[in-house]
């Protein structure tokens, strides 16, 4: 077993992977709620980045952490609105499948 030191790179890679997973989900999931969750994944990837950078690059300042707190808060608000809309659309269309929502096009 190699001595494992976790450095900035690892966090950044993790964040990138998470972002990519979220991205993949956004593009491939058909359920609106799932897509919303995937967006949250992407935001969390950002949070990892922010905190990692904060820790390694500006260890004395808490800029990154602060930023992450804001992101989390705002994301919560966004999800709140988002779920409300999903419910509204479900009421109208009896579906949360994104493929059904193509009345507006061209």
């Amino acid at each position: 077993m190699l001595p494992l030191t976790v450095g900035l790179t690892h966090y950044v890679v993790l964040s990138a992977l998470l972002f990519a997973i979220g991205l993949f989900g956004v593009l491939s999931k058909r359920n609106a709620v799932a897509v919303l969750i995937c967006i949250e994944l992407m935001l969390n990837a950002v949070n990892i980045n922010l905190i990692a950078f904060s820790k390694y690059i500006t260890p004395t300042l808490f800029i990154g952490q602060l930023f992450a707190v804001f992101v989390i808060t705002v994301a919560a608000a966004e999800v709140g609105v988002g779920l409300a809309i999903i419910i509204a659309i479900y009421r109208n269309r009896l579906s949360v499948n994104l493929d059904d929502f193509d009345w507006l096009k061209w």
């Binding site: 950044v12 967006i39 705002v74 966004e78 609105v81 109208n92 507006l104």
Partner: protein, 473 residues
């Protein structure tokens, strides 16, 4: 920390107003909520007055987090004017829709978000302002929650805005990682011209994230759908307010924080502008729905405004401000006509605009004038705006000037198709359309300002010059 609250007065006032409207909506009986519109209107007027009074009052707050310069003030005024006109023009429409207090307060909060954006001195403020604006807009877009199209537009906007925010944030985090600061001015000082991969990625993501908000091609896909589905006044506000605010911050970030790699992004922005102008104008041609048509046209307009960013110089900033300001009147004018016509006929199809010139000469005239201003036909404001924009790039990007100006003439084609229907055809129902006083006022303001700015742009030009100079102070 000593906080000069007078710098924050406009924001404080608007947020108080927003809250007041929201709360009053709960208190006031349903049938007199109509007055909330007037409250908002006068509140916005007062807000404009407060903002204007702070023209000379400049400074930064919270260690650079919040910047109040004339650049920001000018943009704030632009947003307030836009909100004012939108509210004034849509009161009747809102009364039909119900839920006035939510509507007006959301408009006010969106405005607040824009104002914060304009003053954003660092990435956090930027993000907060952006999301405040976006979330308010999401609510507004699906405000007609029983209308399938409105809700569909809402969910599209929600999810795509979420994705774009994530991308933007990722870009911001990379820039932060590279420079160790989130304050825009400091980022600018810390960055070197060496384009490391992380910077390239960050740059692209920033451009994409903000490009989404201004609906630059290829990040524009949401625009027509959301514009079509959203309630028309909201579309108008989205088209002017959201776009102008995003441009304000786009300039702030790219010119303020990324001047070191200007050589890299200038080229990108030029390409984006060209593609946006071309696609926006071309796809507008076959449109049959007036709102979609205006949506594509607003995409094209974004392309034009992007032109001002390319050189990253004072004249460019000034041109952007000038254009954003006049764009408010043109767009709100056009959309107010659409709103009004929709509330009379219930249709947004261009073919249903037959005979509008006979039913309401004012509406038809405003529509044509506003559209032509967007097309940049002299002597309307849009022409002067385009003149300012293209004069900044004519020496170095001649090809872009050609594309831009030729496409703007192509755009006249689809604008004139609307004029054709309005003027040539006989109306199905010849009854004249009665305009309520606020709507008529909105239309008149839009028309007169569009013409006056075109014929005598001197004063606005002076103001934007001053504001552009404050950018670097």
């Amino acid at each position: 920390m000593n906080v000069n609250l007078s710098l924050l007065a406009p924001e404080l006032f608007i947020s108080a107003l927003g809250l007041a409207v929201l709360i009053l909506g709960l208190i006031v009986p349903k049938d007199s909520r109509h007055g909330l519109g007037w409250l908002t209107v006068f509140g916005l007027l007062l807000g404009m007055g407060i903002t204007m009074a702070g023209w000379e009052n400049q400074g930064t707050l919270y260690g650079g987090l919040f910047v109040v310069d004339q650049y920001a003030v000018f943009f704030k005024l632009t947003f307030l004017v836009a909100a004012f006109l939108v509210v004034l023009g849509s009161m009747r429409y809102v009364d039909m829709m119900g839920d006035q207090s939510e509507y007006y307060s959301m408009i006010l909060f969106a405005t607040l978000g824009m104002m914060v954006l304009a003053s954003a001195g660092d990435f956090m403020t930027l993000y907060l302002g952006l999301e405040l604006m976006t979330i308010a807009f999401i609510v507004l877009v699906c405000f007609r929650r029983n209308d399938v199209k409105s809700v569909e537009a809402g969910i599209k906007y929600l999810l795509l805005a979420g994705v774009s925010s994530a991308v933007l944030l990722y870009g911001l985090s990379l820039v932060y990682g590279l420079t160790g600061t989130v304050v825009i001015g400091e980022v600018g000082r810390a960055l070197t011209a060496r384009p490391v991969p992380a910077l390239i990625l960050g740059l692209a993501m920033l451009l994409a994230g903000l490009g989404f908000k201004v609906s630059a091609v290829p990040f524009h896909m949401w625009t027509p759908d959301v514009y079509e589905g959203a309630p028309t006044p909201v579309t108008a506000f989205l088209a002017v307010g959201s776009k102008a605010a995003s441009f304000a911050v786009l300039l702030r970030v790219f010119i303020g924080a990324l001047p070191a790699v200007w050589a890299h992004w200038a080229m990108l922005v030029a390409v984006l502008a060209a593609v946006t102008i071309i696609v926006g104008n071309l796809v507008a041609i076959p449109q049959t729905n007036i709102k979609r048509l205006l949506a594509y046209s607003s995409i094209a307009q974004a392309g034009y405004i992007l032109v001002g960013l390319i050189t990253a110089t004072g004249p460019g900033i000034k041109a952007v401000m000038f254009y954003a300001f006049l764009y408010v009147f043109a767009t709100v004018g056009a959309f107010t006509v659409v709103t009004q016509y929709y509330s009379v006929t219930g249709s947004d199809e261009i073919k249903d605009y037959a005979g509008l010139s006979q039913r309401s000469p004012l509406m038809a005239a405003v529509m044509v004038i506003c559209m032509l201003s967007m097309a940049g036909i002299p002597p309307l404001a849009g022409f002067v705006g385009k003149f300012y924009l293209f004069k900044t790039i004519i020496n170095d990007y001649l090809w872009l000037a050609f594309i831009g100006l030729i496409m703007s003439m192509v755009s006249v084609y689809y604008y004139l198709k609307v004029a054709l229907v309005m003027y040539r055809d006989e109306p199905a129902d010849p009854a004249p359309i009665q305009l309520s006083a606020p709507v008529a006022l909105t239309l008149l303001i839009a028309m007169i300002v569009t013409i006056v700015l075109g014929v005598y742009p001197g004063p606005l030009s002076e103001a934007t010059n001053v504001a552009a100079q404050s950018f670097w102070r």
